[in-house]
Amino acid sequence: MQALDPLFPLLGGLLIGLSAALYLLANGRVAGISGLLASATGLSSELQSNAQVPPEPAPQLARAFILAIFVGALLAAWIKMPDIVVTHRLPLLIAAGLLVGFGTRLGSGCTSGHGVCGLARAAPRSVVATLIFMAVAALTVTLIRQFGWVL
């Protein structure tokens, strides 16, 4: 894998940040993908909400957001197709998917909601969550790559 020209991560990050900024200022909500996805697919646990937690994003808005991610990715890939190098090991993909799905719901957010949105407003829960999932992910990669832990 070749090194990236820093222009791309900077420009791509800017687009992600603009997306979060627009969604907040126009629609008044946090652009967290795990929450949007759960809402769009009807998988959010509504009853868990209480007065302190805002209701899940409206399903129609969440669906528009998620479908537009498909379109945005396709448009950008049409200009330049990205390399997507990912493991083909089925048990690993399934285990990782289950952990990410369950974990982001239990922890109320992922890289976008806690990372991009939560850090930007210095929300204590998001700062802690981001530090934890970054550290745990780095530890997981290190155990696999440096110590040969294979699952």
Binding site: L37, Q52, L106
Partner: protein
């Protein structure tokens, strides 16, 4: 209608951002997470650049009484740390480190027809369903009577 269009435009920007930044590539994400190996710092730049508009927006939000197209801001207000947040972050971290997909990049990769991404997203939705089934608890009487803001 305006809300739908802005949601769609925000999604468009997000999806393009996934591809342009190369976050869509799990190999790149794992190289960023591999801090003791040949560390690839690109994703730190993605995060830093994403925070710029986001920080500005949250500052602007303080001066606004309501968003442009919605009736009110519906953003999280909790500040306490509970076991759900901490455990959830740990589980998510393990899953992210195993393959290199988090939710945003995974659905962007799914759109580009990556078979692995389809499998990952199917499992991720199953994980969300499991959460809904296992963690759903009835709202206590006192909470149920409060309006959800």
């Amino acid at each position: 209608m305006k809300k739908l269009l802005t949601a769609a435009f925000a999604g468009l920007l997000f999806g393009a951002g996934m591809v342009v930044s190369d976050m869509i590539n799990p190999a790149r994400v794992l190289a960023f997470l591999d801090v003791t190996g040949a560390w690839d710092y690109s994703l730190a730049l993605v995060m830093a650049a994403a925070l710029v508009p986001s920080v500005i927006a949250w500052q602007l939000r303080k001066r606004m009484t309501k968003p442009l197209f919605a009736l009110n801001f519906q953003v999280p207000t909790r500040r306490d740390l509970d076991w759900r947040l901490l455990t959830g972050a740990v589980l998510f971290g393990i899953g992210w480190g195993l393959v290199g997909f988090c939710p945003g990049p995974a659905i962007a990769a799914l759109a580009l027809g990556q078979r692995s991404a389809w499998i990952f997203v199917a499992a991720m939705l199953l994980g969300m369903l499991l959460h809904r089934v296992l963690m759903q608890r009835p709202v206590p009487q006192s909470d149920a009577s409060q309006p959800r803001s």
